[in-house]
């Protein structure tokens, strides 16, 4: 059903361009990697059974010890003993500042560096080895470990990855994730929303069509997305969620409840590792870590049992032993589940749907194994949810499919995703003017013109924000920059055009241009809690043994491969062309090809990159002509008669958005269970 008619030369291009790619689900609790084998997405397991490494899931845990970095199952074993130096659930800190964590500080056994307005930093190690480490670096360590197991399985270096992120991740969190990929030495082809990835795996597996809701409750994040599936197109209609709501919160709620009941207080305020206090602080941290771990074990046992025993030995030799029932769990979970319910109702409203119009609800994430969660979802949507694909694995499987698409594979699916939160800029009086609204399909752009408000104003202060509220305080500040050099004039004379562009990763780029003088400023919005390019470059250097040499070799390798790919693609396009190439474009392109060949034989990676860019520039008119022809070819033979219906029959519905009662639900409901 997904067959497309190949353009002339397209199959050769495909073959020449094929990359070795994998999809990675970088989870709060567990990470997985998958790839497509003979058309079937498959999770890659580790090889070492003794280290618990033969499983599909790699615990997203990193231990920073005296002998180096340990990731996964072995790190999990060290977590109770070394709470401060073993980072779990790092995803909750990615792209966040200390201030953002206020509500989640309870029972966190880490030493966090003092707030300096930047991203959260963990302090690990002692003595000379004491150092600060960012969540981006911790994530990179997980990615490196996961990619390493993939390298063995796919038989060679990974050339590209798709990394999944919660749909509700904002710009700062997405950028931090992409940075982590870079830092791990991976080429990030795309950041893919987790529920979208799950829908992809589900839809392809079942050949489903229609409207689906994906309810994804994992360890640290909650997402809900509504998608329409038709003929290989996966269109996200609306998305919502909470990037700090998951199984972890329930674990902490259970632990806090039982500790309070037993009259035990844990004091994690002593954030020092020096002197006499150090021993006490470590003991408190260990207790916090063990309490949360024990709570999680109880929670998971209550999935199959009606009762489970919570045990925790305390410092003074006492122990808490307490039977917990499923009903108690349900009561503790209720406030968290109600938060998911609110997000679900809003997302239905945004998609202009009633729950009854859905063809199915798909469950994703380990937390949806719990009968308490399932019952809640069933009641919320008024139907039994689907959960016949492994909720732990679907996200990685979908990421593998998308990686295959982007790596030049056969699979022909198109994902149309949306931006989860509106983007805007600050106006006079602290009001936020939205340029792009939430649930707009990406990639997209918008621009707006603003005028000066004071006489002789020579700069525009531009403050970029993300969120739904109308005021600056209610939104997340992404970045500030100044457009300078505006010629002095009377108020209202100078005009700045501000343009937002969101790429397919959901990441924003802002440009500002003063229209009279032409002064321009462009920034890739580096969020206040992000890392600068220099910082990443330095971290990369640090991570190589013979830093300079290795990096040189690696860069050269990357640019050469890229040059080969482009040469092959351009050659195939020229050969398959029928009359689109004008003589001068052809001559310029051929010349650029010769030059790039010459450069690729040398060892200057920057020169090679410049050669690639020159070839691109030369062949640009050709590319645009091809794009037009792609559309024309696809549309040939269709007429506009198809569109000749009257709006009167299709009632534009509720308020501003319209609602179409007969949107074609080509019903083919999966044989539901």
């Amino acid at each position: 059903m997904l067959m497309q008619i190949a353009e002339p030369g397209e199959s050769q291009i495909k073959e020449a361009c094929r990359k070795r790619v994998v999809g990675i689900d970088l989870g709060t609790t567990n990470s997985l990697v998958a790839h497509v084998v003979d058309g079937t997405p498959t999770v890659i397991t580790g090889g070492d059974a003794t280290a618990g490494d033969d499983a599909a899931l790699v615990p997203s845990i990193v231990h920073y010890g005296a002998d180096g970095v340990v990731v996964g199952h072995r790190a999990a074993e060290l977590a109770a003993e070394h709470p401060r130096d073993t980072i779990v659930s790092v995803k909750r800190f990615v792209g966040r500042g200390l201030r953002d964590l206020a509500s989640q500080r309870a029972l966190l056994p880490y030493e966090l560096a003092p707030d300096d307005g930047r991203m959260v930093r963990f302090v690990v190690g002692a003595g000379d080895a004491r150092r600060e480490i960012t969540p981006v670096e911790v994530s990179a360590d997980i990615l490196r470990a996961v990619a390493a197991r993939a390298t063995a399985a796919v038989g060679g270096a990974i050339e590209g990855v798709v990394i999944t992120v919660p749909a509700y991740f904002d710009d700062a969190q997405r950028q931090a994730t992409r940075d982590a990929g870079r830092l791990a030495g991976l080429e990030v082809l795309r950041l893919l929303a987790e529920p979208t990835a799950a829908a992809l795996a589900y839809g392809l597996d079942r050949g489903s069509r229609g409207l689906y809701a994906v309810y994804d409750l994992g360890g640290g994040t909650f997402d809900v997305s509504i998608l329409k599936l038709v003929d290989g197109v996966f269109e996200v209609r609306a998305t919502g969620g909470d990037s700090a709501l998951g199984g972890d919160d329930l674990d902490r709620a259970i632990a806090a409840h039982l500790l309070a009941e037993a009259g035990v207080t844990i004091d994690l305020a002593a954030d020092t590792e020096a002197g006499a206090a150090a021993g006490a602080a470590l003991a408190q941290r260990r207790l916090a870590r063990r309490a949360v771990t024990a709570a999680r074990a109880v929670k998971e046992r209550l999935t199959d049992a009606d009762e489970a025993l919570f045990t925790l030995s305390l410092a003074d030799g006492r122990a808490i032993e307490r039977r917990v029932t499923r009903a108690e769990l349900a009561a503790l979970a209720r406030p968290l589940l109600d938060r998911t319910g609110r997000a679900c109702r809003r997302v239905l409203k945004d998609a202009e749907l009633d729950a009854g119009e859905l063809d199915g609800v798909i469950l994703v994430g380990g937390s949806t194994r719990s009968p308490v969660v399932r019952a809640y979802v069933a009641e919320l949507f008024g139907r039994e949810p689907l959960c016949d694909l492994d909720p732990d694995q679907v996200v990685a499987l979908g990421a593998a499919v998308q990686a295959e698409v982007l790596g030049g594979g056969e699979q022909q699916v198109v994902l149309l995703d949306v931006i989860p939160l509106s983007l805007g800029i600050e106006m006079m009086g602290g009001v936020v003017e939205k340029l792009i609204h939430r649930n707009s399909t990406i990639p997209c752009g918008a621009s707006q013109t603003f005028t000066t408000y004071a006489d002789n104003q020579t700069g525009f202060d531009i403050h970029v924000l993300q969120g739904e509220r109308e005021t600056v305080e209610g939104c997340r500040s992404l970045a500030r920059f100044v457009l300078r050099g505006i010629p002095p004039a009377v108020a209202g004379m100078a005009r700045a055009e501000i343009t937002f562009m969101i790429d397919a990763d959901g990441i924003l780029r802002v440009t500002a241009r003063e229209q009279v003088s032409g002064v321009e400023a462009s920034i890739e919005v580096k969020p206040s809690y992000g890392l600068t390019d220099e910082e990443i470059e330095q971290m990369l250097l640090d991570s190589f043994d013979h830093a300079e040499d290795d990096l040189q070799r690696r860069n050269l390798q990357i640019e050469r491969v890229e040059a080969e790919r482009i040469l092959a693609a351009t050659r195939a396009a020229i050969d398959g062309d029928d009359g689109l190439l004008t003589d001068d474009v052809r001559a310029a392109t051929e010349a650029a090809i010769v030059e790039l060949r010459r450069l690729a034989a040398g060892d200057d990676h920057l020169a090679i990159r410049a050669g690639v860019e020159a070839l691109d520039l030369a062949s640009k008119p050709f590319a645009q002509a091809r794009m037009n022809r792609v559309i024309e070819a696809a549309m040939r033979g269709r007429t506009v008669d198809d569109v000749d219906h009257s709006l009167a029959h299709v009632h534009p519905g509720d308020h501003d958005h319209d609602h179409d009662p007969d949107h074609d639900h080509a019903h083919e409901p999966p044989d539901g269970r």
């Binding site: 291009i13 361009c17 094929r18 990359k19 038709v230 290989g232 197109v233 269109e235 109702r345 998308q402 698409v405 982007l406 198109v414 994902l415 149309l416 399909t441 990639p443 997209c444 752009g445 918008a446 562009m501 397919a504 790919r565 482009i566 693609a569 396009a573 690639v612 860019e613 691109d616 520039l617 062949s619 640009k620 645009q624 091809r626 794009m627 792609v630 559309i631 696809a634 549309m635 269709r638 506009v640 198809d642 569109v643 000749d644 219906h645 009257s646 709006l647 009167a648 029959h649 299709v650 009632h651 534009p652 519905g653 509720d654 308020h655 501003d656 319209d658 179409d660 007969d662 949107h663």
Partner: protein, 181 residues
């Protein structure tokens, strides 16, 4: 490529379009030029695909919603509506003001049924105004110059009224969300 949104989607430039037709036109085109299909192509092609996709998305976002489609068409006829343009109609403004007070009272008193009733009523009215746009646009799009000159200001007026109604409906949503929070 700087055609109109209608041209981009291959649709006739008029108000009266069915939602499924707009969707189909968009999906057909976007499927062909989506950047994912050019991921391994040369950068110039990737850029061309990205730009075309963005244009298609912008066009779709605008044309699929009748109110935005109508405003876009109005602009194409050289008529614009300012951000804070007010209606010069005391009776209408008065009525909306009263309805708002009614809503505010119901909200404060926590009478959600009442809020829901007001919302349903306003939705009906909103729908009615959208329907009224169809014959108006037929005149705008017709050959009769006099009819067009007469219809354009009425379209504009209707769209401004719709803004008031939309704002009211947002308040209804907010009131119903209170209970959620």
């Amino acid at each position: 490529m700087s055609g109109s949104y209608f041209e981009l989607l291959g649709l006739p430039e008029r108000f009266d379009l069915a939602r499924p037709a707009i969707e189909a036109a968009y999906l057909d085109r976007t499927r062909e030029v989506h950047p994912d299909r050019f991921a391994t192509a040369a950068a110039s092609e990737r850029v061309a695909a990205l730009q075309r996709s963005m244009q298609l998305n912008d066009a779709y976002q605008t044309l699929r919603q009748p109110v935005r489609r109508a405003e876009y068409l109005l602009n194409r006829h050289g008529v614009f509506i300012g951000d804070n343009e007010r209606l010069d109609d005391a009776a209408f403004l008065m009525e909306i003001l009263e309805l708002r007070e009614e809503l505010a009272e119901a909200r404060v008193a926590g009478k959600l049924d009442e809020v829901a009733r007001l919302q349903a009523e306003m939705r009906r009215r909103h729908r009615g105004l959208l329907d009224a746009l169809i014959p108006l646009f037929a005149a705008v799009e017709g050959d009769d110059a006099a009819g067009r000159a007469d219809a354009l200001p009425r379209v504009k007026r209707t769209l401004i009224e719709l803004r008031y109604l939309a704002r009211y409906l947002e308040e209804c949503d907010a009131a119903l969300d209170d209970e959620e929070a």
